[in-house]
């Protein structure tokens, strides 16, 4: 136990700066030229790789989920959007979720507020795929963009980043205010409340974009490796994993958001597919996809 505490006492260097990386990307997503009175870049003809609503007054790029859903309604294949997600997912997997996404960053910040935290069951994470298939692909394809269950009409990121700032802007400009639907507001309120009591509720339970990246976790160029021979079964990884899962069951699985907090323990490392396995170690295979119930 004391060895584990010593190991835990020396955090992995790069993980300490995760907040800075997230903040830097947040600045990039918020169209910095627009902060100084200019029109801004607003390159909405290009998809960004993160969950950021294009109705946000400062959105630099288009939301990939919104684009995929709208193109599904139009019965057109969005090659550029899908290609972008495949490139970045195959390169980094869910590192995009853990290090780059602004909506995830917001949830991380709120999670720092000292409120009681509850862990969600692992199986609940499969609901992301229900959201992806039903609300992003099937409903738009068969019923169009005007259906009340079209993903953008439910999305809390759209409500928070798009609807709220635009309502404020309309109010200050004495224009008629465009209210979001009651369902959208209700979902936003529930997700924001959940952010205080569980870590990343949107990411772990509902995010369709994270669902796509998680599928590519098993084949990405960059991944997390659990070294079984370095593990002393101290279970400290439960406290390191922000979702409370032990490293050997969770690292790099379908539900892992690759925040890399578990790399504070030397039993978990970030590696690339080009790194050679150490023959003297028992280079255990990354336990991927074996999301059994936690003991």
């Amino acid at each position: 136990m004391s060895m584990a505490k010593n190991r835990k006492g020396k955090p992995a260097q790069f993980v300490r700066w995760r907040w800075l990386v997230q903040l830097s990307f947040l600045v990039a997503w918020l169209d910095p030229p627009a902060w100084f009175g200019s029109v801004g870049l607003r390159m909405h003809n290009i998809c960004g790789p993160v969950f950021h609503c294009y109705s946000c007054p400062l959105a630099m790029f288009a939301c990939p989920i919104g684009v995929i859903a709208n193109f599904s309604a139009l019965h057109v294949l969005p090659l550029a959007a899908i290609g972008l997600l495949v490139v970045l997912g195959a390169a980094f997997g869910s590192f995009i979720c853990g290090w780059v996404c602004p909506f995830g960053f917001l949830q991380d910040l709120i999670a720092k507020i000292p409120t009681p935290k509850f862990a969600m069951p692992l199986w609940a994470g499969y609901f992301r795929y229900v959201v992806l298939v039903a609300f992003v692909l099937v409903i738009p394809f068969f019923w169009g963009e005007s259906h009340p269950l079209f993903v953008c009409r439910l999305c809390p990121a759209g409500a928070l980043e798009g609807a709220v700032p635009n309502m404020v802007r309309q109010a200050f400009a004495h224009q008629p205010i465009t209210w979001p639907t009651g369902l959208k507001v209700a979902i936003l309120v529930m997700i924001v409340i959940a952010m205080f009591f569980t870590w990343r509720p949107w990411c772990t339970l509902f995010c369709p974009l994270g669902a796509i990246y998680a599928l590519l976790n098993h084949v990405s160029l960059l991944f997390l490796r659990f070294h079984r021979n370095r593990c002393i079964d101290c279970a400290d990884c439960r406290s390191l994993c922000v979702d409370g899962a032990p490293a050997e069951r969770r690292v790099d699985g379908l539900h892992c958001l690759r925040c890399a907090e578990c790399t504070r323990c030397r039993a978990v490392t970030v590696e690339t597919v080009f790194s050679l396995p150490n023959d003297t170690e028992d280079a255990a295979k990354v336990v991927a996809g074996s999301d059994e119930a936690r003991s």
Binding site: C47, F71, A80, A81, G83, V86, V87, L88, L216, L276
Partner: protein, 132 residues
């Protein structure tokens, strides 16, 4: 080395496939849409002659005159009508991406152009916000 190569093969192949999809989408994926353009035209409208009105004009042909002929040039009325012209257009996928972010594209559900994509705005500038 062979192990590394095998491990790296699939992710590298996926990255390459994604890059090809991006190039294909940006430069080689034309999307046909239709744009409705309203044009205003001024036309001359002559109201039909009421029954019993005598025919006017120097060339009075008497009984051979058709009853539907205009009964006077002074009764011609100018009317402004709006005609809708359907113009086909080919846009790129990035342009379509920009259009969907503001609700600028929709699929025609029924009618003569059912199944085609229709731009919901005409002119250079579209709506400012997504309708959702």
């Amino acid at each position: 080395m062979w192990t590394v190569f095998r491990r790296a093969l699939l992710p590298i192949a996926l990255v390459a496939a994604g890059a090809i999809a991006i190039v294909e989408g940006v430069w080689f994926h034309p999307i046909p849409v239709i744009v409705e353009k309203e044009t205003k035209k001024t036309i001359d409208v002559t109201p039909p002659a009421p029954p019993g009105t005598p025919m006017d004009g120097p060339s009075s042909d008497g009984p051979s005159a058709s009853p539907g002929m205009p009964f006077g040039r002074q009764n011609v009325v100018k009317r402004t009508v709006t005609e809708i012209e359907i113009e086909p257009l080919i846009i790129s996928e990035p342009a379509a991406t920009r259009d969907v972010t503001v609700g600028g594209l929709e699929r025609v559900a029924s009618g003569e152009h059912a199944g085609k994509l229709r731009r919901t705005y005409s002119g250079e500038k579209g709506p400012a916000l997504c309708p959702t």
